[in-house]
Symmetry: C2
Subunit: 146 residues, 2 copies
DNA sequence: TTGAGATTTTGAATCATTCTAAACGGCTAA
DNA sequence: TTAGCCGTTTAGAATGATTCAAAATCTCAA
């Protein structure tokens, strides 16, 4: 059902892990594969159930561990909305998130560098930003299957 | 220790509650007073302990209830950072939040309308925004007592 | 003054996440 | 080859913010 990682994907997984002294494991490979296969910002539980189809016996704790590892080495971003379960996103380009309240789905919104620059400028001089999160909430109109 | 609400503040509390068919109660008055007295984005627990000094016997559940009520009638905003406890903010002007990772403090950042407009423009045409959240994380430099 | 409905209170329940400790696996030095 | 080391995985318990349930209390219009 789920394709394996291609050479390039496996390479970037290996490289990111190696950079922080960690190894590729079958579990990590599958979890990462699941994230790349369907970029719909799944929760831990969703990742878990998708991964189970390829690797029965995989444990939920391991999915937590893998995702935490990926976040730690910069391969994946966490996406939070209100108090809902944390979601995971393998899109490394700077982007915002739009959460559709009627479907619960989370969409990537491309973020022009120019806007990021402007945002940085509204901060007092002594505020040093490490990360900026922008999230929209609303609804998508019309019969749109996306 | 904590000043009462002034005429204007009590008025806007009453008005906001009335609009959604709810009443002023001593508990709600105190919780709102606590929020206005120290605009440092307190957690529920912090609001609770501050309010206890004025009204011993107040319950934590009531603080949850009051804050939920205020959010519901638009008097107060929730502020979330990662998976930490929800914080509350009575600043109704459009603004972003900067969270200082070294102190844990959350600062209001004034948000030019112009930037909000630009942000809305990066969305696909059929995306209707209800709210936009912008949050910075980083550190404040130098010996700054703010 | 009274009763209906709103609010408060206590304590239990929920549930995503984290923690603990034991089992596992691969790798290397002897 | 074997023994030990260390990172990883696993199952299950613990945590902690938040929500829920039910009973007590309060408010206010009639
Ligand atoms: Mn968020
Ligand atoms: Mn946030
Ligand atoms: Zn994303
Ligand atoms: Zn604020």
């Amino acid at each position: 059902m789920i394709q394996n990682l291609n050479k390039h994907e496996r390479e970037s997984l290996h490289e990111a892990l190696a950079k922080s002294g960690q190894k590729i494991t079958p579990q990590r490979e599958i979890v990462y594969t699941v994230l790349l296969a369907q970029r719909d910002h799944p929760t831990v539980d969703e990742v878990y159930h998708r991964a189970l189809e390829t690797m029965p016996g995989l444990s939920l704790a391991t999915v937590y561990n893998c995702l935490e590892t990926f976040v730690g080495c910069g391969l994946v971003r966490q996406v939070n909305h209100e108090r809902e379960s944390t979601r995971y996103c393998p899109n490394l380009a700077p982007h915002a998130h739009f959460r559709d309240e009627s479907t619960g789905r989370v969409h990537d919104i491309e973020l022009p560098k120019e806007i990021l620059d402007q945002l940085t400028k509204i901060l007092p001089a002594n505020f040093e930003t490490e990360t900026i999160e922008i999230s929209f909430q609303g609804r998508t109109k019309t019969s749109n299957k996306n």
